[in-house]
């Protein structure tokens, strides 16, 4: 079958198109494009069916597992596909690893090294217990995240644009340093012992709950990485769609109750708003997918992310 490839402006992207087997899959097409163009490896390619001009519908993205025949209408033996370059891609594992590595390494620098000398303070003399526990708590948190990245999470997309590495690292590394600066500061004022224990205790419980949420999410997808969406069930997912975000937010709240810094609370607010955006999109997506029609289950009534508010 002949595949004609156009760019979004309508220009022919590969002169003369590509000739493929009638039984070829989208993955085969991606390979062929990569072979012809060298630069555009499969994860960089975004292949869609053409949308009639003026139509405001979102274009259909080709699934790499399906055969090209599935996208031909009628018994035409030709297919026109729209190509978009997604730009250099990086695997999600790589992205997550580097964004989490920053906080894991930078925070201890403020604890162990005489950093504050360069801000005009004398060498630190007193380290409060809460500062030590905060160090363990923080490092455990990011260590856990890295472990989950490599051994637990199953991603819906294999890759993410390279530009996200800079953006995400800037976010995590800057906030990590900002918080570390204040918690380990020579003039740090600790909270009461009870408040510290409540904060860290609650935080640890939430981190464990968060880990369990990740296990549940992992089991929704198959290991061959075909992604897809299922209705999450069990544990907190029965009441809230994004229980993983919920536990993550509360876990940071625990850290802040124990350490009490404006910087930490600012981070909490920003992280919460980011996760809330994601949660709203995910909740909407699941409700749309599981509409109860054509034998599909109907998505149950649940909180989005933060009962009893949203």
């Amino acid at each position: 079958m002949k595949v004609t490839l156009v760019s979004r402006s309508g220009r022919e992207f590969i002169k003369g198109g590509l000739e493929l087997n009638d039984s070829a899959t989208v993955a085969d097409l991606q390979e062929a494009i990569h072979k012809r163009t060298k630069k555009f490896y499969p994860s960089r390619q975004r292949l869609t069916l053409p949308v009639p001009s003026g139509s405001r519908e979102r274009p259909v993205i080709l699934n790499y597992k399906k055969s090209l025949k599935d996208y031909c209408d009628g018994n035409e033996n030709t297919l026109t596909i729209v190509f978009k370059d997604l730009g250099p891609q990086v695997s999600y594992r790589t992205l997550f690893f580097f964004e989490y590595l920053g906080p894991l390494i930078l925070y201890p620098v403020f604890y162990y090294f005489p950093v504050y000398k360069y801000f005009g303070y004398e060498e630190k003399r007193v380290i409060h217990p809460v500062q030590t526990y905060a160090l363990y708590y923080w490092c455990f948190h990011y260590f856990k995240r890295i472990m989950e990245t490599f051994f637990i999470h199953r991603f819906s997309h294999a890759t993410s644009p390279l530009s996200n590495v800079f953006r995400n690292c800037a976010y995590y590394w800057t906030f990590g340093s900002y918080i570390a600066y204040y918690v380990n500061h020579p003039l740090y004022t600790p909270v009461s012992d009870l408040q510290m224990k409540i904060g860290f205790g609650f935080g640890i419980v939430c981190q464990l709950a968060n880990f369990y949420c990740h296990i549940i999410l992992k089991n929704l997808r198959s290991p061959d990485g075909s992604g897809g969406y299922q209705i999450p069930r069990g544990f907190l997912f029965n009441i809230v769609t994004c229980a993983n975000y919920t536990t993550e937010i509360y876990q940071w709240l625990g850290f802040n109750i124990a350490t009490q810094t404006v910087a930490g609370y600012v981070f909490l607010v920003v992280a919460t708003s980011i996760m809330t955006n994601w949660a709203l999109a995910k909740h909407r997506r699941l409700k749309k997918l599981f509409d109860g029609k054509d034998g599909r289950p109907k998505y149950p009534r649940r909180w989005v992310i933060l009962p009893p508010f949203l």
Partner: protein, 221 residues
């Protein structure tokens, strides 16, 4: 679609834009007068009142965008007004030592010409429903010169004010305190300077795009 509301909106915006226009006209007039009669060291004192008033009034534009009275997105008005208020109140008004610097003159003149054109343009459109094409051209062309001169003046003034900022300890919040928080106005100023590095080309590029769209659209009409 009550037309009474539309009339009210246009009346309000006409009055707003022409009033602020008058403010900036005063700024330009007094600045040039002081420059000629007394020298650049005296420009700030001559323009202080109308400058503080006209620049602070711009806060209303954030409100206008938020409630949908005007189409401008809040995301582009906020940084623009933010930087203006920072320079006006956070640098010039707060640190009198910088007021005699020659960059105050270039700053004030760049801002005033830009705003005179801008506010009269909107004043025309709201009051009379149209603005002549030369006016549109001015609005989308003078920035080509005035943005570089204005931004350089802003950056220069922040930079030259740094020693005064550091010495005065103004607007600083120190540790220890229960929130384990601190704020150092000197470092914040350095951060502000840093933001100008990516921010200025981004803004200039954005305006170039706006210019292309606005001037080609008027050609088509």
């Amino acid at each position: 679609m009550a037309s009474a509301l539309t009339v009210l909106r246009r009346l309000y915006l006409s009055i707003y834009n022409w009033l602020v226009f008058i403010g900036w006209f005063q700024v330009l007039f007094l600045a040039l007068k002081a420059l000629k009669e007394s020298g650049h060291e005296h420009v700030y004192n001559a323009v202080e009142k109308p400058l503080l008033l006209a620049q602070s009034a711009a806060v209303m534009e954030i409100l206008h965008g938020l409630i949908g009275l005007v189409r401008s997105p809040v995301s582009s008005t906020l940084p623009q007004i933010g930087s203006r208020l920072y320079l006006t109140w956070g640098i010039l008004w707060s640190f009198p030592e910088i007021r005699t610097h020659i960059l105050v003159t270039s700053l004030v003149i760049s801002w005033a010409i830009t705003e005179i054109i801008r506010y009269s343009f909107f004043g025309m459109k709201e009051a009379f429903g149209f603005a002549p094409s030369w006016h549109l051209w001015l609005r989308y062309s003078t920035f080509l010169v005035l943005y570089p001169t204005g931004i350089s003046s802003e950056v220069g003034l922040i930079y030259f004010a740094l020693p005064y900022i550091k010495a005065s300890e103004k607007y600083c919040f120190r540790m220890p305190n229960k929130g384990n928080f601190s704020f150092d106005y000197f470092y914040a100023a350095i951060l502000a300077l840093g933001i100008y590095v990516p921010g200025s080309p981004h803004l200039y590029h954005y305006m170039l795009g706006q210019r292309k769209r606005a001037l080609s659209k008027s050609k088509k009409e």
